[in-house]
């Protein structure tokens, strides 16, 4: 009887994860696309120097971060993938979403102080530990993007 209840929960979570998770992901990608086009004029580079170095007015550290987790279906799929090896697509999309979202948040912070360019942008990714006590739980990721927002003299 216990096994049956467990199985029902498992299938329910799998369905919930698949349908809601896919819908959430689709909406998130849509919003990422819209905002990326909106902020396209704020250049973000990973180099430390720019040619207009003598025109720099002020600099400030800006950052954006996001904690993102997998849905139940993807986590199950990933654990199956672990047996046979190979590309884990569900992880790729979750990290891609996290990184792009973090960059967008950093850009939003930079736009608040009316910056013209972001120099030396860096990423920092970490798995911030198991979030449930269950053994098979994979946890969630934190992605941080940071850089130096530069304001040019008019």
């Amino acid at each position: 009887m216990d096994i049956l209840i467990y199985l029902i929960y498992f299938i329910l979570f799998l369905f919930l994860g698949y349908f809601i998770g896919t819908a959430v992901e689709k909406r998130h990608y849509h919003s990422i696309g819209v905002r990326e086009r909106q902020y396209i004029n704020l250049a973000t580079v990973t180099s430390k120097k720019i040619e207009e170095a003598d025109q720099i007015f002020s600099t400030q550290l800006v950052m954006g971060s996001v904690v993102i987790s997998l849905d139940y279906f993807k986590r199950f799929g990933a654990s199956l993938r672990n047996i046979v090896g190979g590309r884990i697509k569900s992880y790729e999309t979750i990290l891609d979403r996290g990184r792009r979202e973090a960059v967008l948040r950093m850009k939003e912070e930079a736009l608040k102080i009316k910056a013209d360019i972001i120099l030396n942008m860096r990423f920092e990714t970490s798995a911030i530990g198991l979030i449930t006590k269950k053994k098979n739980s994979i946890g969630c990721f934190e992605v941080l993007a940071y850089g130096t927002a530069v304001k040019l003299k008019d």
Binding site: F13, L16, G17, I20, G21, V24, E25, H28, K48, K49, A53, D54, I56, S58, T59, Q60, L61, M63, S65, V66, V67, I68, S69, L70, D71, Y72, K74, R75, I94, E101, L119, N120, R122, E124, S126, A127, I128, G129, L130, I131, T132, S137, C140, E142, L144, Y146, G147, T148, V150
Partner: protein, 104 residues
Amino acid sequence: MVTTNIDFIPGKRIVEHFGVVQGSTVRARHAGADFAAGLKNIVGGELKGYTKLLEDARRESLERMVRQAQLLGANTVINVRFATSAITQGAAELMAYGTAVRVE
């Protein structure tokens, strides 16, 4: 106090150098955010409670780094880096470090 993660301050000359300064904080999750995160774990997506928690913690570690730099008499921290590590289950250490300098 200016903080940047490039290794110079444009248009200014570094006159004094104080070495590495750092600030860190260890934060544990709390039960309320944890419960919400447990639910979110089924459907996936962003864990807003955790994002907020880590953001606050990171600002705190930055502030501590800046305070240390101020004690040394610096007015700028250049080359700031961040590091995050999960030290035990449910707690994370956030650290910020950089080079304290004085510019003219």
